[in-house]
Symmetry: C2
Subunit: 943 residues, 2 copies
């Protein structure tokens, strides 16, 4: 049936000389590349002529058992003639041979997953024509050698290693080091040797007929759609197998045919700053790969770009070509309404555009370009918001290394918390504090196997934190992100020997006091002091610079205000200090979604009272200890309530496994015993008896407040008394008490009773009234599954997706280091589920909880306060699921705001911009004339 | 509207003298008690006359603001007259007063939750009549005293403590110890004093009008439906609030009106053995409570029961009454088709039946009666199966203490694994082994804080295990149940001091070598050797006794064969030794649902190879160690396959956190280092590096087999090679390889690939073919939630409800001891979720997994192999959810078979037998004439 039908359908679409049978919206049929090439022609851009064989043919080809449907070749023949005419050369002609490339092109980019063959049409006859055309036998034979090698490998399935070996042997015999040093006769010999291997392996001679070459290559491209890697890629990216790939057959052009030929790349605006200026580089008598290879120094494309280089520009050398190029780039930017990266070749004075894509850019540039284009009327505000990747804001908010500086990288860990830190190595929190006490300007990097809450004072004064263990949500990573510190975590490359005061990295030994630098955005660990550049936006946000003085900030502010106008999701912050709260508000937080009271327990001497409370054997002992904590906690809350000025503040009652607070060393136990007035041995016994095999699943969360009601009582009192104080000052307050680790409705009811009783008591004592809420974390599968019941006792839900991920997967984030990286690396998990919400599993629990919770309480307020609340894909998911707000660390608040706006725009849908506009990250494909990535990639390093 | 409607409806139903307006099927309207009383009349049994006010009136009463609907009292009046006529006495008459009781009676039994008032109608005038009637002023005034006290407390809300205090003071003044020693005048004084308190407290005199008394009591009963305890009870048992309770008003009869009066209790068959004989006790001139109080020795009811007691029987003393009683019991048994417990009173020569209920019985009796009644044509086989509680089989299968022996109980823990064990105390597994090596007949009890897999050799030789920590699913409990050992776990009453070689219990110190006894069915720990009786059924099952020699066994066998004929759920066993497998098959297991390969790793020297494997730093090292394990595992499987003779055998690949296998002490590390040829320090470092904070959520389950493929490879090879060997012997084999701790489909796919590859290789090598399956545990929420995906790679699912409970609740069973008992005790959880499936949470995950799994594979085989597979309510749940089989420890196989049959019968529904037939456990209410439980319960202890 499909054959019947497809007989009537057009299978081949021509493009060239400003004409095209296809256009941008025919991606499904022509693939992304085919549609783009057609579109360029339609807007009057000259590209090497060619034709696209549709994706439907790919499907037919597979169905017919790897055979071309009848009539296809005839249909292509006419188009081939048009190419020959337009390019002024003939396919298979020995005097003026036309050479062709064959490339895949699916609906969506699948970079490097499928095959490409270049220089089709070369054989022992046509090579003469190429030599004549190029005037350089070496260059021509190099094309020939590469063609035979690539064709043998890709189309004829000859062992690539074998051909590579012949090449190596040849270089040894000719005593040269680089491929390019091989003379023409050696290359000629190689072509013959390669062909011999083909004959021996396949039992048939290498095809000399250009048409046989062409259709062999087209078949190979179609077959690569079902290659193992491509299938796996589609599975991971959920791309249907029946989409198929289109195949593009296109004339080759050469930038190395003498001094009137050239090749170059350019950006329509400055990719570093976003400034509106045409910016690029080129080389005469060169091929595309020469520009990036770095052997010859490229020249600036225009006079404005010359600077003090003293190099001649294209504008001066080929003014007419340059004028056409300028005309082209303007057309492209206007048409695509986007800053573009363009590749071109000049073949004997004639300009050919090879490819144009969305240009990669820094975050600074991304924001400026987006805002500028709105002002220029090119795009809408929605489109501008859509154009900036939320993750890019990270760069804007954290200090960064000078991109020009040298880096001596000795190890690489997880980019746990962005930023750039430089300092002297210390191995303990106490050292860090001591160093900075000695010299307040001292810069230290805290290096630990892993960190614990007791390291917080050291982390606070350090420039950055480096750990050898732990993942993206390890203690070090979470705390670092929370306080905006640079952190490289889980860096298995280093081996810390704390006793000796040193760590080993790849081939280097770093001692206490040595300088190192951490790049929290890449995970790199570098020797010495790499110069750091401050984030401008941050300076303004934190009041160190006036907003009017920073145009970047003004752009940022404008973009964020647009985003705020679009988003529906609220954005709160996870903070428990007045400073963090203040920062978060400056970053746009609309409340606190999570204040972890236990973080307040480590400050100063508080930990002693906490330990006394935990280790007390009875209620009276606990109450005595809690009485010491009450005024301290109350003071914390007073300060936070003041800063938040009536915005909601969600305070979570005591949550972590108690072991986190316990003294560990004999000395700590001795000291505490003295303070508590008990014998050290007795205390040691108590500590031992509290040991848990799996503290994460132990006596923690509301289980503490239920068995020890007095803890919740004290915390509720601290919150309510603080609210009274602030309320009496004439400020608004809106405390929300959040009960952690609830598994059953009854637990929440019991804790709620305590909070409500204490609230009544305190309001009566103080003669003050204010509204407050009592809600719960949803962080256990059972709570999510029974959310209809739990909602009966809750004013709000807040997803604790860290714990929810831990329990749904049965996976402790503290212990995942031994296999989680392996899982992500081997594609067993598409991403670290602690960094990005696992939508199929954890996400389903969230959907269930939202649906069931609102079935009981239709207007139940629901948020998220897990680490995922600041990760863009997770934020978008939260929007889709119907959450009211996300809460994240202060530095991620702008990211969440932008991602929340993206979620709305995604929902709206509307016309999809050309793939390359969206595919900034994915579009990693090479320019038309360059050696394709696959298999031969390693070889290009040698040139 | 309801008032309108109910006006037309009959509100009061009479019963008495063999007539009744209601009947057994009117439970909704008359409550259980009212319907039963009506039914007794209908079958010609004489009960004291009375009437029932319907449940609808209760609802009306509440709606009208605690007022009786108009017309009610008039309706009752006529009935009251009928009572007077039948009982030959008049309500409020001073010469021959009729006294009444008022009792609640809801649709289902809510024992002790609602109020009762007895002896209504007494006042200063009618007391004279009662004195005359009784001929005993003390007895009459005691009735009066109790009435005023109970009425004051229940109806008038006078502080019960206050009245109690007056009673105490009176006894002190009269210098008597017991209530019954107070003379008539003192009781008379008390009545007056009680009435004074009533006047002072309520401001009104005690009601002397019998009708006022009556309606006050009826109102109190209706109001007790909304009492706090009753509401809470209904919430827990999911009883709708709008059901309401009926109220029964009934004439009082007295067994203490001289020598022609009597009271007694009887069973229609022997409750200990099930033998078909009428069995009971009575006392003349006594009240019901005197029979059970033990002050007077009760007489046998008939000559057959006299034995050598020399006491006269009712049959001899009152032959006519006895003949009527025999007639009654036969009617009752025939009508209810059940062994009944009956209570009766003889008032001046006239027999009154007070109550009849399902009789409590031993498991032996339960089985015999059920099987007998089928033979007698009284009940169907289905009914017989329904009549035996699966949990009762436990008693049948484990050795038990002689019920007559004295017990010196010094501690009580969890009844973790049933059985009766006596032995000398040892504190380590090695000691246990050493003792039994010295003397193979030595009996030891292993006492530990908790056990670990390394204790298994000691547990195997011990009579029983006692631990001070851990719950119903702690290691000790699980292993003990698995190997059928008696175990008392989590016994917080004892404090083990291993170093000193002793433990402290309540007031006792037990040293190494002392005898203790453990009752695994009650959790009791006793000093000394309590004599043990062997289980007869077990002896037959294990071949120590011939089946024909045990009538009990023959009954058991018959009942089980009926159960097997009814059930649809398959029953497998969890076993990993040939002996356990053999036992399980004898107990009726249809396959192995879980063989834990790691349990095989502890035997003999194997642990060294396991440790070597874990601690190896590379693949080669691991392979070397695994090569040592291969022949050992293969041998295990060969033996199991032989025993199972073609029944499916599900083998789980390595699962537990590795820390369980690691050497812990420095000596163990030194020894292993020597064997492995590495330095102890180096080995210690490796051990340290493998430390996990939450091993339960760590590198375990399939995560081991994925990162270390060679482990799964070895295990797959051992299984497949073993299968080949057994197949070559001419036996059938059906291995099912089960992959643990799968969270994603991909994990299962990867492990499946390995198993399939190895299977292909082995079958080719051996030239043998056999079917096998590859499936997965569903023990993580994520696996359940994405079961549609996972099913794509699975031949079967098996729920690992232990881990599923741990992760759904975020609750480690090893650490739950600190709060789970508190939770269960305080009703935060209705039961230990590790013992009984949490149907709302964990159960929902199971439902989701079944539904989603079968949406992908409609005929997906699904079972359960968690501990819950042998717990009756969980087995019934598994049936309802649509599982194919349950798997449990060998000793629980018969229990699961019976529970599975119950599940089918439950599903079928059909006519419901009278409540008391079903309510064997719940029917804890007292006999009609006895003091009701509530409030006064503690007082009865004094008599």
């Amino acid at each position: 049936m499909s054959t019947e039908k497809s007989k009537k359908r057009k299978r081949v679409y021509f493009f060239g000389a400003g004409q095209a049978e296809g256009h941008a919206k025919m991606r499904d049929l022509l693939g992304g590349k085919g549609a783009d090439l057609a579109e360029l022609n339609r807007i009057g851009i000259r590209v090497p002529a060619g034709f696209t064989i549709t994706t439907e043919v790919c499907t037919e080809y597979q169905k017919l058992g790897k055979k071309f449907p009848p009539g296809l070749k005839e249909e292509a023949k006419d188009h081939l003639k048009r190419i020959e005419k337009l390019m002024g050369a003939r396919f298979g002609d020995s005097e003026n041979p036309l050479l062709l490339s064959v490339r895949s092109g699916a609906r969506v980019s699948m970079p490097g997953m499928m095959d490409t063959v270049l220089n089709i049409g070369l054989n022992d006859r046509t090579i003469a024509g190429l030599v004549a055309k190029m005037g350089d036998p070496r260059a021509a034979y190099d094309c020939y050698r590469r063609f035979v090698q690539m064709y043998g490998d890709v189309v004829l399935s000859v062992d690539g290693e074998k051909l590579e070996e012949l090449l190596e042997r040849k270089k040894k015999r000719r005593r040269v080091r680089l491929d390019k040093d091989l003379p023409a006769d050696a290359l000629k010999e190689l072509v013959a040797e390669f062909k011999n291997v083909v004959r021996e392996t396949t039992g048939r001679p290498f095809p000399e007929d250009p048409h046989e070459q062409l259709w062999g290559a087209v078949g190979a491209v179609f077959e690569s759609w079902d290659g193992k890697r491509a299938v796996e890629y589609r599975r991971l990216h959920r791309i249907p197998n029946d989409w198929g790939t289109a195949t593009n057959v296109q004339a080759m052009v050469f930038g190395n045919l003498g001094e009137t030929s050239a090749t170059g790349v350019a950006f329509t605006r400055d990719p570093a700053t976003g400034e509106k200026r045409f910016y690029g580089e080129y080389l005469t008598n060169a091929q595309g790969e020469d520009v990036v290879a770095g052997i010859r120094t490229p020249h600036p494309i225009n006079i404005a770009g010359k600077g003090e280089s003293g190099l001649i520009s294209l504008e001066e050398e080929m003014p007419e070509v340059y004028a056409e190029l300028v005309d082209n780039y303007k057309k492209i930017e206007k048409h695509y309404r986007e800053m573009a990266d363009i590749e071109f070749t000049v073949q004997q004075g004639k300009l050919w555009m090879l490819q144009t894509r969305s240009g990669k850019r820094t975050s600074v540039a991304a924001i400026k370009i987006a805002v500028d284009m709105v002002a220029e009327g090119l795009i809408s505000k929605e489109e501008a918001v859509k154009r900036v990747d939320p993750d890019q804001l990270d760069q804007l908010l954290h200090p960064m290394f000078d991109p020009k500086a040298d880096r001596k990288v000795v190890a690489k860990g997880l980019n746990a918390s962005p930023g750039a830190a430089t300092g002297r190595v210390v191995f303990s929190a106490d050292e860090a504090v001591a160093e900075t006490k000695k010299d307040p300007k001292a810069k230290v990097i805290l290096v630990r196997t892993e960190t614990s809450p007791e390291d917080i004072h050291g982390m606070a004064v350090a420039q950055g934190i480096l750990t050898s263990r732990g993942g993206m949500t390890s203690h070090a990573a979470v705390v670092a992100r929370g306080i905006g510190k640079c952190c490289v975590a889980g860096c298995g490359d280093i081996h810390v020997d704390r006793k000796k005061g040193l760590f080993h990295a790849k081939g280097a030994t770093v001692r206490r006091g040595d300088w190192i630098s951490l790049d929290g955005s890449t995970g790199q660990v570098m020797l010495g002091q790499v110069p750091v550049v401050d984030s401008e936006v941050n300076q303004v946000l934190l009041g160190q610079k006036k907003r009017e003085e920073s145009s970047l900030y003004m752009f940022f502010e404008k973009l964020m205000s647009w985003a705020d106008g679009i988003r529906r999701l609220g954005v709160r912050t996870n903070a428990e200090t007045p400073l963090d709260s203040f920062r978060a508000v400056r970053f746009g937080a609309e409340g606190i979604g999570l204040a972890r009271t236990e973080h307040m327990f480590f400050e100063g001497d508080r930990i002693d009272a906490v330990r006394e409370m935990i280790l007390a054997r009875d209620r009276d002992g606990r109450k005595k200890a809690l009485a010491k904590l009450l005024p301290l906690q109350r003071k914390d809350f007073v300060e936070i309530f003041r800063v938040m000025e009536g915005k909601p503040v969600t305070v979570r009652t005591l949550d972590p496994p108690l072991h986190e607070f316990l003294p560990a060393t004999p000395k700590e136990i001795r000291d505490l015993a003295t303070k508590m007035g008990v014998k050290p041995k007795k205390l040691q016994e108590i500590v031992d008896s509290l040991h848990e095999l799996n503290p994460m699943l132990g006596h923690r969360g509301c289980r503490l407040g239920i068995v020890f009601e007095e803890i919740t009582e004290m915390q509720a009192r601290a919150i309510m008394e603080a609210a009274c104080i602030v309320k009496k000052e004439g400020r608004k307050v809106l405390p929300e008490v959040m009960i952690p680790l609830v598994a059953t409705k009854k637990e929440l009811e019991l804790q709620r009773e305590i909070v409500e009783r204490v609230a009544r008591e305190v309001m009566k004592e103080q003669g003050v009234k204010f509204p407050y809420l009592v809600g719960t974390m949803i962080e256990l599968p059972r709570a999510a599954l029974t959310a209809d019941e739990v909602a009966g006792a809750a004013d709000f839900f807040s997803f604790g997706t860290n714990d929810l991920t831990q329990t749904a997967f049965g996976l402790s984030r503290d212990d995942a280091g031994r296999f989680l990286p392996y899982y992500v690396e081997h594609g067993i998990l598409p991403a670290d589920p602690f960094a990005m919400i696992d939508q199929a599993g954890v996400g389903l629990l969230m959907r269930i909880a939202v649906e069931k919770g609102r079935s009981t309480k239709p207007d139940l307020k629901i948020g998220i306060c897990g680490e995922h609340g600041g990760e863009p894909s997770s934020v978008r998911f939260c929007h889709r699921v119907g959450l009211d707000y996300v809460s994240c660390s202060p530095f991620r608040v702008p990211i969440a705001r932008l991602a929340a706006a993206h979620a709305v725009l995604e929902e709206k849908g509307g016309p999809t911009p050309p793939a390359w506009v969206r595919g900034g990250k994915k579009a990693a494909g090479k320019a038309a004339q360059k050696t394709p990535k696959k298999k031969t990639a390693k070889k290009s390093a040698r040139r």
